[in-house]
Amino acid sequence: MGQTLFDKIWDAHVVSNNEGFPDILYIDTHFIHEVTSPQAFDGLRQRGLPVFRPKQTVATADHNVPTWDQHLPIKEELSRYQVDMLTKNCAEFGVELYGLGHPYQGIVHVIGPELGITRPGCTYVCGDSHTSTHGAFGAIAFGIGTSQVEQVLATQCLLQQRPKRMKIEVNGQLQKGVGAKDIILYIISKISAAGGTGYFVEYAGDTIRSLSMEGRMTICNMSIEMGARGGLIAPDQTTIDYVKGREFAPKGEEWDKAVAYWQTLYSDADAQFDSELYFDAADIEPMITYGTNPGMGIGITQHVPETASFEAKEQGSYAKALNYMGLHDDESLIGKPIDYVFIGSCTNSRIEDLREVAAFVKGKHKADNVTVWVVPGSKQVQIQAIEEGLDKIFEAAGFPLREPGCSACLGMNEDKIPAGKYCVSTSNRNFEGRQGPNSRTLLASPLTAAAAAITGKVTDIRAFLSESEFAEF
């Protein structure tokens, strides 16, 4: 029987599989950041252990950094202390840090790929659930807790039970105005925020294959929002072309050897999955969420589901979510006034996202009732956006390009959405209070967010754009 891509990579990283124990899985690269690592470094100190493989550990400051004036000391005391602690820990344990001011600084799941650290066939972990992003390269990548961060720092390995395997195929032609973000929001809305729990997902099908690497990262990024530990996509020429020539990508003979190996990384035709799901790309509309978990999404022309359509035991939680969001049964979201637009996060803050938004807002101006934050995923994305003149387009549209970080995705820094306000956000979670206490998040694609910024309300991008304007995308 053939093997799945996931099993090929997993098997190649098993150090030991003793009967009755989880596998000891070797980790090629461990990404760390300021929020989930300090207690792990403390643990090493208590044990008197060094970082086992410091050269396979990459650190950056992203979750808790301001997105203005990054050249100045961080104003908020606890945030500054936490970022300083990362600097101190990295220096003490010999770990390379791309901290504030470093040209490689940025959201951990943006910088790994753009620096060529993320590659097919490898294993990656980070104390962050969106580590699943790196799976877009045909890698095994998943989020871990701080005790496991300590474990990987101490041993470069992780004790891990092999998950079940799920295949999700999407085939067919996408409608205009529909992109990677809509695909993944659609899938999650169909299988729920828990539908992938216990599984590692392989995304396949010609629609997935047609996506750029950045689109594939958006898809894999949100695997965790259906409960799956991670998601991956078999590498192909798109993957190889993306990695080639990047800072830490293999070079010369090493490159040829690497590519030869990557070309063996696919699920065999007779590989068995524990679950298989199939979707038709033509069914997918621009998506938007209306509730308080990412599974609560609808096509933008659809109405909020009726409470009575749920099982009795689910109705309480459902009504609580709608009440929090200030929405009611059967409401249409189109035309609903909004207050904020956030374009950023490890889901949608890469150069293609910014280009797409810029192409749409060029020559337009944001609505008066809306505050717009555009936060690039990394210093490199920020610089590239400036080089391409995107910052000027944003500026003219009424919102400046900010500096890189996780920002309003989780509101750890000062970028918080005020209580009761609606934010159309390109991030990944619409949980209660996620973007600030009592904030209300509507998750959507960068295009749908850009349209909301211009009109000041929830807008169907397809109706807004004329055919000729579509041609630009």
Binding site: V15, S16, G20, F21, P22, I24, Y26, V35, T36, P38, Q39, D42, R47, H63, N64, L78, Q82, M85, G127, D128, S129, G143, I144, G145, T146, S147, Q148, E150, Q151, A154, T155, C157, L159, Q161, P163, A193, A194, T197, G198, I224, G227, R229, T292, N293, G295, K313, E314, G316, S317, K320, L410, G411, M412, K416, R429, F431, E432, G433, P437, N438
Partner: protein, 195 residues
């Protein structure tokens, strides 16, 4: 390094019959700035527990004088979302030793086990009966026996066995730690790296 040991418990429970409780509700991101593991219990379920002026909300179960105990009982898909281990630390720090739900998110489950907090997955039916028992008598006790892998509603005698990975069970009962286990295999790790 030894971790917290868990074997057996019998206490009243705190019911939280809400589904999809994510780790942002358990401990909001703005409280993740601490650099130690202690003190997160004060902010457990912060925005459900306190209003914007930090006054306790009377309708939230943790502020209800009737309910107490070392077992938290919650709706399905508990602990979804962020990988923050601070969620498990907050629940433990508040004083819970066990969380019962009909479904747990993967990362939360792992984090809980690594901190001596036992996540017990029960059937929908058992969960429903457990909520009924505690809502008809707030002092209803529940017995948890890890060695024999069962959970029991003491008043009705209804019990259900639960699954746990045998390695993780041994860790909890003996206070073993994953790092000690991997370090005992360090030779194999170095051998693997030479391949």
């Amino acid at each position: 390094m030894a971790t917290k040991i868990f074997k057996h418990l019998q206490t009243s429970v705190v019911p939280l019959p809400i589904e999809n409780i994510d780790t942002d509700q358990i401990i909001p991101a703005r409280f993740l700035k601490a650099t130690t593991r202690e003190g997160f219990g004060n902010n457990l379920f912060r925005d459900w527990r306190f209003d914007e002026n930090d006054n306790p909300k009377e309708d939230f179960v943790l502020n209800h004088p009737t309910y107490s105990g070392k077992i938290l009982v919650a709706g399905k898909n508990f602990g979804c979302g962020s990988s923050r281990e601070h969620a498990a630390w907050a629940i433990s720090d508040y004083g819970f030793d066990v969380v019962v739900s009909s479904f747990f998110a993967d990362i939360f489950k792992g984090n809980a086990l690594n901190n001596g907090l036992l996540p017990i997955q029960v059937s929908d039916e058992f969960l429903k009966n457990l909520f009924e028992a505690v809502f008809s008598d707030a002092h209803a006790e529940v017995e948890v026996d890890l060695e024999n892998q069962f959970i029991k509603i003491v008043s009705t005698g209804e019990q259900e066995s639960f699954e746990i990975n045998p390695y993780k069970k041994a860790c909890l009962i003996n206070g073993y730690d994953d790092i000690d286990y991997i370090l005992s295999n360090k030779g194999l790790v170095e051998e693997f790296e030479q391949k």
